[in-house]
């Protein structure tokens, strides 16, 4: 069964704040839920399917209770930052199977303002035991291990990584809510402090309190709504893990999720007018562009030169909201903003100078966990309502 054309994104909402000391993550989840439902022209009472991560309380149960949802379908798939891209795919599948007709996806968190984390307490899982002894400091270390290997194997340079940040910053200057709205140069990226070699501070995404929500609906509901909806064309997901110590850090799970999504959507790389590419770190973008087939393996560093990622006229405009690198990486998980910006582009609602002309087909890709060990990858291809 294909999900192509079986579900539509009717509403999206990205929380406008990036530092939220004075409300709970649950309240932020409610705010983004109300925002996305209002965007769709729907209310909480219309929701019969709910999707969220496992980062808060008892998976989706706690938030379903808090929001007072009356559900016939629930899904708390947890693949880190890619979860919410997966949730769109799973929502489309559930709608196509008749399990729900209005699916709400929410997420939020406050890493700047409140302690958070997964798996607190309880018995450690084996990977955390054998990787937790060596001073891994946050996510950056694992991505740095991938970057070193990619550079060794393919000659990728720090200046090429920096081009990714530069493109994101050029977009962020047009986003009034961006956490880092100032354009930067390649040299400024190269001059920023080394965090975990070869990754410097400006190779890393922002840490923000925030959240986002998405409403996915059936074709019948979409037809009843006043606003233009966005069609779900295809979705692929993958888990790439350490494979008994046989890991290869030069590619991501996108090598599996990408082809599945393209085939289901019936489109090719050449049809993609805009791409949201998960940008936890600059190396994440380089590897993902290769793995999704936008360039040959190992050529991602060359691909991003000469403003290739810069909207509106680059070869492949990406992350026009400023991405995780400059705009928002809510709760250390950026998948939801990847979907939201793709929807904005397809609806012609991107920030003025970054709107891609004739944007009829777009891609959103999420990467969760770590490309340095185990990751969830999710590729979503979306089109305008009549695509």
């Amino acid at each position: 069964m294909s999900i192509r054309g079986k579900a539509f994104i009717a509403g999206v909402y990205e929380h406008p704040l990036r530092e939220i000391p004075d409300r709970s993550s649950s309240q932020i989840q409610a705010e983004v839920a109300f925002g996305a439902l209002a965007d769709a022209g729907l209310t909480l009472a219309d929701v019969d399917g709910y999707f969220t991560d496992s980062a808060h309380g008892f998976g989706g149960l706690s938030m379903a209770d808090y929001l007072g949802l009356k559900l016939r379908h629930i899904d708390s798939t947890e693949t880190g930052g890619s979860s919410y891209v997966v949730h769109v795919g799973h929502a489309a599948e559930a709608i196509a199977a008749g399990k729900c007709s209005v699916a709400l996806i929410t997420m939020a968190g406050r890493p700047r303002s409140a302690a958070m984390g997964m798996g607190r307490g309880g018995e450690p899982v084996p990977d955390s035991v054998f990787e937790g002894l060596w001073g891994m400091s946050g996510a950056v270390t694992g991505y740095a291990l991938a970057a070193t290997r990619h550079m060794y194997q393919y000659g990728t340079t720090s200046a090429q990584l920096a081009e990714v940040k530069v493109a994101a910053s050029l977009h962020a200057q047009h986003n009034p809510n961006a956490y880092l709205p100032k354009p930067v140069t390649v040299q400024e990226v190269l001059d920023s402090p080394m965090i975990s070699s070869p990754l410097r501070r400006m190779d890393c995404c922002v840490v923000t309190d925030s959240g986002g929500a998405i409403v996915v609906v059936s074709p019948e509901v979409a037809a009843s709504l006043p606003r233009q909806c966005v069609k779900v064309l295809g979705h692929g997901e993958a888990v790439k893990h350490a494979d008994m110590g046989r890991l290869d850090l030069t590619y991501t799970g996108a090598v599996v999720s990408g082809p599945i999504a393209f085939e289901e959507a019936g489109v090719t790389q050449a049809d993609i007018k805009y791409a949201s590419i998960y940008d936890s770190f600059t190396i994440t973008v380089i590897e993902t562009l290769e793995d999704l087939g936008f360039c040959d393996k190992g050529k991602g560093g060359e691909f991003v030169l000469d403003g290739a990622l810069v909207a509106p006229h680059g070869k492949l405009p990406f992350n026009t909201d400023g991405g995780g690198l400059c705009n928002n990486h809510p709760s250390n998980r950026g998948g939801v903003t990847k979907v939201i910006e793709a929807v904005r582009q397809l609806r012609g609602e991107a920030n003025g100078p970054t709107q891609v002309p004739n944007c009829d087909i777009a891609l959103a890709h999420g990467t969760g966990g770590s490309i340095g060990a185990r990751m969830g990858s999710s590729t979503l291809i979306l089109g305008q309502e009549n695509a």
Partner: protein, 137 residues
């Protein structure tokens, strides 16, 4: 090289991992090897994900390998480690095949290279076991 030695945090030892950690106290790096398909299993677990066999045998490995990739950590929030900056985290590919996460020690961080031959060294946690790190061979 950092002025501080790296910390030697004691590992959490799951019941089925007692043999692995006991071996480190004797200066041995050991891991399950599949009796049926001959693959080494890393991180250790009491079965073989490659072929599905539950017949695995703890087998000592040489402790020799090469650096597959590494990073020099310049900023860290990890207690003990943050006092020892900069330090090196790496994946070492063992001669037997598996890549293991570890630290590279006994060398200036700036001198570590991909492909460098290394061999295992054990650092006592003072809890009846030792951490397996690697130094230039």
């Amino acid at each position: 090289m950092s002025t501080m030695e790296l910390p030697n945090p004691a590992p959490y030892i799951a019941p089925e991992m007692k043999g692995f950690w006991a071996a480190t106290a004797e200066g041995r790096l050991t891991m399950p090897k599949c009796d049926d398909c001959s693959e080494y299993v890393w991180y250790p677990r009491p079965f073989c994900p490659a072929c599905g066999s539950t017949n695995v045998t703890w087998t000592d490995v040489s402790g020799n390998g090469t650096v597959y990739t590494f990073t020099v950590v310049h900023r860290s929030g990890v207690p003990g480690y943050r006092e020892a900056l900069p330090y090196v985290i790496a994946y070492v590919q063992l001669a037997e095949g598996p890549k293991v996460m570890t630290n590279i020690v006994g060398i200036e961080p700036e001198q570590v290279t991909v492909g460098m031959p290394v061999s295992v060294v054990f650092n006592d946690t003072e809890k009846g076991n030792a951490l397996f790190r690697f130094q230039p061979a």
